[in-house]
Symmetry: C2
Subunit: 210 residues, 2 copies
């Protein structure tokens, strides 16, 4: 968000301040929780002025959102479309991706701010719209691109609804994490991928089975 | 919760008051949202004293939780185990159940308090434990009992992990509802059931397919 409003030079000069603010927001969210997180405390921890933060972000939710977005961005800072791995083996690729997701969700530094942000998203329609536009939709499109390639290669039913497929593969992970309904392990996500892909397998192969 | 602490006679006498309080809590949660819901407003709407409410419930979250629990309980007031339908046709039974769930989630009278309670559960560990014990776990066991019967009848893979199966069938519905990620329709849940059950189908039948 901030870089949209500034000339490149200014952006480059204030990059360390921005990074310090994002890091402070993540640290504090993990330490005190979202409710007790304040712009004041973020500013103090980052060694920045409150006004600097308010100039760049409208709310603590927006700061935290950018902090999480920066965490999940390509470390090389690429702005290009990120793609899911494609080795041609869809199951292996998805297991890799979900195992990495589970690692993130089991890491309090990521999961506590993410949980706090999730609560905020459920209550705050404006932040929810930003989240959908900037994170959820691009991620969903990326997932569907990978699944479409598998579909084109005949590995998935040509009639499979790819939105249903995304919900089927990723929904249970998010849900189990959010409600702490069971252990988040690679064994769980492996079973999930195998079962979901069997269900999404090509109809023509399936028909020989009935 | 309240009936645990009172003699049966008292419980019977105060049943109308209890019901008035639960109805008021649901109405107000739908009208003003959870954050602005107060014990005071519930008491006023129900024509009851604040002290009456505090004698029976420790917090507004606990009132709302009991109100939702009462909504989802057997209308005849049966305390026995509720079971999912079992016509022998697992897919048809699950489609019926999920279509009813979708109807509930599309009804603001149920979904707005439920969303409010969900936010509270994500933040409040004590309420989360009560929720898991009183609602989530019994529901999960009920779902697994139905799936186990199908498994015993050879309709599901004997090696299928029934917790993964529950997550696969119900997780995407809750997730799509919570994050408003797409329309909650019977078409969606039908596709979900068909795909998930295909994935969970008996291994011996599946093997002829490879």
């Amino acid at each position: 968000m901030p870089t949209d409003r500034k000339a490149p030079d200014t952006a480059r000069r204030s990059q360390p301040t921005r990074q310090a603010i994002l890091t402070a927001a993540l640290d504090l969210a993990a330490e005190v929780g979202y409710r007790r997180l304040s712009i004041e405390a973020i500013a103090a921890r980052a060694g920045a002025g409150k006004q600097t933060i308010y100039r760049w972000w409208p709310s603590k939710g927006a700061v935290l959102f950018d902090a999480l977005l920066a965490l999940s961005e390509n470390p090389e800072g690429s702005d290009g479309d990120v793609e899911l791995p494609d080795t041609g083996d869809l199951a292996a690729d998805l297991k890799l991706v979900l195992a990495a997701t589970v690692d993130e969700l089991n890491n309090p530094r990521y999961s506590e701010p993410m949980r706090a942000l999730t609560v905020e998203i459920l209550e705050n329609a404006e932040l929810a719209a930003t989240y959908r536009e900037r994170l959820d939709q691009p991620m969903r499109e990326m997932k569907k691109r990978r699944l479409r390639k598998a579909q084109d290669a005949g590995q998935l039913d040509p009639d499979a609804d790819l939105d249903v497929a995304v919900d089927l593969i990723w929904g249970p992970v998010q849900n189990r994490w959010l409600f702490r309904e069971g252990p988040l392990t690679a064994a769980f996500t492996d079973a999930l991928v195998d079962t979901a892909l069997r269900g999404l397998a090509q109809a023509s192969r399936r028909r020989t089975d009935t």
